[in-house]
Subunit: 119 residues, 2 copies
Amino acid sequence: MIPTSKELPLCPVATTVGLIGNKWKLLILQGLLTGVKRFGELRKGIPDISQKVLTQNLRAMEEDGIVIRKVFAEVPPRVEYQLSELGDSLRPIISVMEVWGLNYQKNANTLEHTKQVTS
Amino acid sequence: MIPTSKELPLCPVATTVGLIGNKWKLLILQGLLTGVKRFGELRKGIPDISQKVLTQNLRAMEEDGIVIRKVFAEVPPRVEYQLSELGDSLRPIISVMEVWGLNYQKNANTLEHTKQVTS
DNA sequence: TCCATTAGTTACTTTTAGGTTCCTATATGA
DNA sequence: TCATATAGGAACCTAAAAGTAACTAATGGA
């Protein structure tokens, strides 16, 4: 789901999901919550994301007005990404996901259907 | 992303995203927040979801301990779905998405890159 | 007798997402 | 002189997700 949403579903949850209801976008969003990041920094912070997928999703998020892209006329190239005001307004979503995830991890040992992994 | 997560990433957000960072799961979760639902009801409540995809995601969520599935030995078949305690603990996530979505919709007319749609 | 009903399953096809490799520009430092 | 660094783009291919159609079981009602 890379789609830059062009239509708004009636349901508010579906609207939100349409914009960021996708693994990579949520992780990119998280990466940008701490402030301006260069492309490479962002990439390093998101395990296993390929350059192509990162670029694609960043472009879609830019189109959706969530992310601001700044290109500097330097060599080697320098491109900085940051959240727009709209993007930053998504912070509570990541925040609540983080809280939930922490709690889940804490109890995960009592759940038989998961296993801890150290990567 | 149907995968029933078998491993826990170190990052709490990634953990959460791994479980429900997917369009359909988020919408199914929303559908179940109001209580027990039969398969058909759930299907009706989620526009454009196909039977197959609904089944697949419900099964994955069941495996992840988010959803409880109850089969009644009746004809025609009757199957009820409900959130487990774990599933219900995800409520704040949908809740915050709903709030965000409502606000986004309210301001959407001032955003040039979206358009309202009535389906 | 035959149709409708429900919650699927299966097989098959199409669509979408993602992976991989190769290519580029040019200032800097070795 | 030559490798390095950065942020991609293009082409190609595979994998995963989703769509579609057909089929099922057993009962109740027309």
